[in-house]
Structure formats: structure tokens, C-alpha cells
Symmetry: C2
Subunit: 435 residues, 2 copies
């Protein structure tokens, strides 16, 4: 019986050249973040189903892959499902005891809650791992994909934001410098400013999330589109008009100065300290990152996740319509796990997007390891294996990459394939070949 050769729907097999690129990028990320004092941790890919359905994940919770209970537990749940005729969603949750994580933030909060006494404070974590979402597969969107997150837990000051933004800008700058790309923009906004503007326009607090979801579409539908959707959404036209007016000044040219922007829009409603925070972040980060990176205050920035409480940020790359990193402050989430709040802030790199861009730009492995191959003719020289392998062992100890293979009938094709893989010195070994 033949088995299924393709990977599971929406998932990827990586060929050696894909992996060389992925490992290279991960190497730069690890090395850069180590300079900023981030230490790597790891959590299991499976999480308790209760933790993943606790409303921390927003829309992503609808996309979780659930892992079935086993044995007697499965039988008990099956009987319950049979008796109560549950609909698929409820039955699916009843029959599962765990699920695959859809992000690295929920596992990090669980991890921190369980280990905080063993961890330094503030805790600067790097997590690199696979996450899973049963999304409709499409170009560049996969059901298993790698995330690279840095987070700082236990620092309520803007020093956390400064470190995260500088470190991520630095990593991306290094990664893309190799392919000659240096045009990035770091966008910095703040949920507190968003909330102050919504308040100033007299939206009710329970309306904020919906207003922000519509505002988030600004870059796709423009300010007029946002206005229209807000009206269609049933929000009072006078509120919508006032709200949209705040952003009208931004069209054409971005308003660079947070102090000026806040004083024109929502000075009465803004939380104390928010303006100073964003000013400090912009100034300190500017002093740390490469001059060719644009850094800008962006009061229209929303970021999807509702768990953000303060500063939010995103990095975009010139000539591409999507962001390649995003994050923000989420001071209320750790508390849901341990019952005691801890300030937290994180930045996540869109790893799959980055490797896709690098591959499209023709990234090539630049291995410093010289490569040699021995092709042994098994008819005439099979007795020479010990000798050839010993020679290979010596060269490997000197740092060469060496392969020893049987010489094929179609030697020309074999040699060409090796040359294509970077083997520069290829020797055929017959009975009388001098090594």
C-alpha cells in the first residue's frame, strides 16, 4: 500500500537549501538578541486546552488544532457526547484534553507564572518555536509556522520597549544587510493614545475594540473608508466625524511629533505619562539604531490583539505591503495565569515572511567550509575503503566537509550534482588511484 507523500495540508517540508537559509537567519537572530541579554527558553508545542480557550488569543482561538483524549478518558467523553448530542465545537472541546499552541505569548505567560521564582527580574526571554493555526492555507500562510519572540517581563518602564525595539531593528538590519536591503520603517503607537482619542470623540468604552478594528483597516481602505465603515457600524455620525477629524491632519504627511499630536486631539483624556513615554522611546531608539532605518510615531497603529495595554509597534520593509515584526505592551495577561499582574512587553518577528523575502531576493549560502568528495569505484577499489575513509577523517578533523560515496555508472551526472552542491574537489578512486 502506498502512503501519502505530501505533507499535511497547509504545512511545509523544507529542502536542504530552505533549511540553510532558515538556520542562517535563526543564527543571526540568536546572536543579535544575545547581545541584548535575552536568554532563550522553550515551552512544549502542546498546551492545556483550558489555557488556549481562555480568551487570550482572540480570533486565533477559533483556529486551534485540538489533541484527542486517549483510552478511558476518551470513552467517558464519547459517552457524554453521545448522550448530550453536542454540536461539533462543543464535542471537539469535550473530546480533547490539549491543543497545539497558536502563538508563543500564552505559553510564555504560563511559563513565567510557573517559574518566576527561578527567573531573573526583569526576565528577558527569547523564544523560537513552531505555532499552529487551522487557517485556510494560502500563499505565504501556513498551518505550522515558526515564530521568534522576545519579551521582557517585570519591567514597567519604557526601558523594556527601548530594548525590544532596538534589538529587533538591529536583528532585521543585519539579516537584510546581506542582500543589500536597508529600508525599514519602525512604527510606534500607543493604545493609551488610541483610547484617549476614542474617549475624546465620546465613544463609549465598550465600543473601543470595534472602533479600533475598523481603524486598523486605514492602510487598506483609507480614512474615508474608515469613516464609512464606522457609520455603517451604527456609530453616531457626530462622534465619527470628530474621531475621523483627528486623523485628517495625518493624511499626506505623517505627524511626527507626539506632543503636538496629542495636544491637538486628546490632551484632556490622555493617561498621565503616555506622552512622555513615547517621546523617550523615540529619542532613545533613534540613538541606537542605524541611520537608514526610519523611526516614526504612528497614532493610527492598532495591532490586532486586544491584550495590548500601552505602547504598540511594528516594523515594515520598503516595497512590501506587510509588516515583518510587531509587538507591544500587555501588562494584564500574566495576571490571568498567576493571579498577580506583572508588566510585560514583547516583539515578534514574522520569520516565515522574512525567509520568503530573502529567498525571493536570491539569498545564497556563503559557507566557509571547503568541500571535498571521494567517489569509490566499488568494482575495482572496494578493498580501499579503510584507506579512503581514513584520509577523509583527517580532512574532516581539519575542518573540511567531506563526502565519501560509491562512484556511479553515470559519473558525469554525479560529479555535476556534487559541484552544484558546492563540492570543489572531487576525486574518483580506482584500484590504482594515488590518494
Amino acid at each position: 500500500m502506498k502512503l501519502i507523500q505530501t505533507p499535511v495540508k497547509g504545512m511545509q517540508d523544507f529542502l536542504p537549501e530552505d533549511m540553510a537559509l532558515r538556520q542562517h537567519v535563526l543564527g543571526v537572530i540568536r546572536e543579535t538578541y544575545a547581545r541584548y541579554g535575552f536568554t532563550e527558553i522553550e515551552t512544549p508545542v502542546m498546551e492545556h486546552i483550558e489555557n488556549l480557550t481562555g480568551k487570550n488569543g482572540g480570533e486565533n482561538e477559533k483556529l486551534i488544532f485540538k489533541v484527542e483524549k486517549r483510552g478511558r478518558e476518551l470513552e467517558k467523553s464519547l459517552q457524554k457526547v453521545r448522550k448530550e448530542e453536542m454540536y461539533p465545537d462543543a464535542a471537539g472541546t469535550e473530546l480533547a484534553d490539549s491543543a497545539l499552541r497558536y502563538d508563543l505569548t500564552v505559553p510564555l505567560c504560563r511559563y513565567y507564572s510557573g517559574h518566576k521564582n527561578e527567573l531573573p527580574s526583569p526576565f528577558k526571554a527569547l523564544q523560537i518555536g513552531n505555532v499552529f493555526r487551522a487557517d485556510r492555507p494560502q500563499k505565504g500562510r501556513f498551518r505550522q509556522f515558526t515564530q521568534c519572540d522576545i519579551d521582557i517581563i517585570g519591567d514597567a518602564s519604557v526601558m523594556a520597549e527601548i530594548e525590544l525595539i532596538a534589538a529587533t531593528s538591529d536583528a532585521l538590519h543585519r539579516i537584510f544587510a546581506e542582500v543589500g536591503v536597508s529600508g525599514f520603517t519602525v512604527h510606534i503607537g500607543d493604545r493609551r493614545i488610541l483610547r484617549a482619542m476614542a474617549k475624546s470623540a465620546e465613544f463609549a468604552e465598550e465600543e473601543y475594540d470595534e472602533v479600533f478594528i475598523i481603524l486598523d483597516k486605514m492602510d487598506k481602505i483609507g480614512l474615508d473608508g474608515v469613516k464609512e465603515e464606522l457609520i455603517q457600524g451604527g456609530f453616531a455620525p457626530e462622534k465619527v466625524e470628530k474621531y475621523v477629524g483627528f486623523f485628517r491632519a495625518l493624511e499626506g504627511e505623517q505627524l511626527q511629533d507626539p506632543a503636538a499630536f496629542i495636544s491637538q486631539t486628546c490632551a484632556d483624556c490622555i493617561e498621565e505619562g503616555a506622552q512622555q513615554d513615547i517621546t523617550t522611546i523615540l529619542s532613545a531608539v533613534r540613538g541606537m539604531i542605524s541611520d537608514d532605518i526610519t523611526l516614526e510615531f504612528d497614532p493610527t497603529l492598532v495591532r490586532g490583539m486586544s491584550y495590548y495595554t500601552g505602547t504598540i509597534f511594528e516594523i515594515s520593509i520598503d516595497h512590501y505591503s506587510f509588516s515583518i515584526a510587531g509587538g507591544g505592551r500587555y501588562d494584564k495577561m500574566v495576571g490571568r495565569f498567576c493571579g498577580q499582574d506583572a508588566p510585560a512587553c514583547g516583539f515578534s518577528i514574522g520569520f516565515e515572511r522574512i525567509v520568503t523575502i530573502l529567498r525571493d531576493l536570491g539569498w545564497k549560502e556563503n559557507s566557509s567550509m571547503p568541500r571535498k568528495a571521494y567517489l569509490i569505484d566499488l568494482k575495482s577499489a572496494s578493498g580501499r575503503m579503510t584507506e579512503v575513509f581514513s584520509a577523509a577523517a583527517k580532512e574532516r578533523a581539519q575542518g573540511f566537509a567531506v563526502v565519501v560515496q560509491p562512484l556511479k555508472k553515470n559519473a558525469k551526472f554525479q560529479v555535476e550534482a556534487l559541484e552544484k552542491s558546492g563540492y570543489t574537489e572531487i576525486r574518483k578512486v580506482y584500484a590504482d588511484t594515488q590518494l
Copy 2:
């Protein structure tokens, strides 16, 4: 509502010091295998349930974590389960469309079948990844654990075995050299010799697997124990007596010479070439590996998996009762996926065991990155952030690891914690501190 803080049963959270060790060992493994021309690949952690229940995984198939179908597919299956009153095992499989892989060998065979036209021949693959088994958790056995496998597909000659054994011995030798351990034994056996001995003792072919499973317990229950279990298993006493006699000569001292052993036990029944193969492997590997590694022919070696067809091998470490690497030739497995056999041979490192041993032996990170910390007093020096972060940026660009943190009230404790993490230069920054 508090959420669950511990990881899912049987799974592990890794602290920064655990990860430093794991990443270090993976680095040595990757670097060593690259010298042998292995290229890294990756497959998804989820596999088609049909591929994982195809009898390639032996006992491990009973331990798979199944991933539920979703939406309409789940509803259809639920109706079927309700109608047919399936028992949990059947219902569990009906309700799932995929599962978490229990090893890296089945995914490799699927991968090779699907991509063989894009891959070199022979194909030398390195896979590092997590696998999942719903085993009863116990000390050192986890439900998610990392495997490191190298495999060569497309080389029917012993050159594959030689490369695999030499590369794995080399990697382990380097890993353990750092903690002063060099006592390994490489055990080499052959399924063809096992089969020849069973045939010579006149067991029927369909009895072989059961006989081998009992023989595999030799190191735990001794030869007398094996004899007793075979008798209890209902095998004819005269066959058992003859079979056990083959191994009697081995007690006390191992029989080092495969030619002598085969001639005394099963010369009439042995497949052509098997004896020459093992002799060549022993000779070539001896010429490649460090002198302090013991290399021995071990005709009692069985290895659990029934998919092995020829040479089998294992590496044990002195003073520990378990093997730390194992593998063998499995020439019939790729064929189950693509309908056409391809010779294949693999060696898997017991990664979790290795890191456990290294941790027990007191492995310490030996980072060459000098570490500095700035602790900013937020009361007096919050206006100096830009200045301090700029200084840190310069030092990071020079290769230092630098952290910038708020100075805490309990500065003594904060400084001690940083010193413990390897920060040697720690500066408190007040209003008037000269940088």
C-alpha cells in the same frame, strides 16, 4: 480565573540554563555532521494519520497523539461514531485526520518519496525535531522530546553504515570531551546474522520476531533468562537449546571476530555478503574514530524496530546502563511510501539522555561574550536614557552582551543575580554618574 501553570503532563519547560546546554549540544551536532556532508531538512510535526498507523512504527503507534478533525468533517465523523457505537480506539481514529509524529523516520520516508527528484543521490539528511509519544511519564522519559537523526538514502553499500557510525561517534566524542568523558562503546550487529542463527536453530520464519524480542532482554535477564522465556513462550526445547548454545560462547568474553563467530554458528544459513560487510565496517570505522572509543561486533544486538533489514548499531557510554544512540539499515521502508524500494540507513542520537548526562556531570556554559549591565536610577537619571542606551549600542556593536535595566530598591540582590548570570561589569547610573 487562574489558568494552569504547569506544562501538559509529561512535557517540559526549559529554563535559560537548560536551553544554553541544549543549544550548545545541537551546535556541536550540526557542525560535526556538516563535516560529513549531511544537510539539514525539516518536516512538520503533524503527519497524516494514515501514514502513522501503517505499521511502520511498531509499539510506538499505540502512543500517538491524534489531532481532531474540525467543523463539518468532525460533525460527519461524530454522526458515524454515534451510529456505529465505536470503541474508543476506532472512534479516536475516525474523529482525527492527523497526528503528531512519534519518530523522524516515517516523516523522512514520506519526505524522500515526495521530493526525491529534488534531492541528491545518495541523500544524506540531518533532522533535528520534536517527536511525541503518549507514554507513561517517568524519570527521563517525556511525552515531547527531541530527536537528532542522520540518514543516508540511496546508498546500498556499507559506505552508508561507515559514514553514519563514524559521524555519530565523532559528534558524541566532541560533546563529551568537554566534560572529560571519553569512554564509549560502539556495538555493531546485523539482522542478517540474527536471522541466520534463528534459521540454523530451526525456528520458523514467522517466529523470528518473537524470538528476537526475547533475545533483546539478554542484558537484563542474562542468557539463562532468555532460555527460560523462550521455553515459556512455547518454543521447542531442542531449538531453544541449540539457539542458546550459539550465545553460550559469548558469555564472559565477547567474540570479537565476526568471521569466526559466523563459521561456528550459522555459516550455512547466512546471506551472502553479510560477513564481508560487517568486517569492512569494523575496519573502516576503526581507522576513523578516536582510539579511546571501543568498537565491537555484537551478535546479541537486536534493536527494537522490526523494520531493520541488515546492519544494526548502538553506542553506549561507560557507567550508564542505556544506549545514547542507535540505528541500522532499513531497506524496505521507503518503498511503502513510494512503491519503489530505496536502500536506507540511519542513526539516531538520544538527545534527551545526552543533555541529562551532561547536566548531571556539571556542564557549564563557557560563553566568550563579555557581559555588561547598566542599572539606571529612574528617580534621578530617567532623563539619561538616550545617553545610556547609546553607550550600550556601541558596546553591543563591539560584541558585548549588554543589559540596561531600572535600578531596583534592593540593588544588592539585583547585582548578585546579574553576577550569577555572568555579568562582570555592572554600573549604576545616577544623575551625576560619569559614563
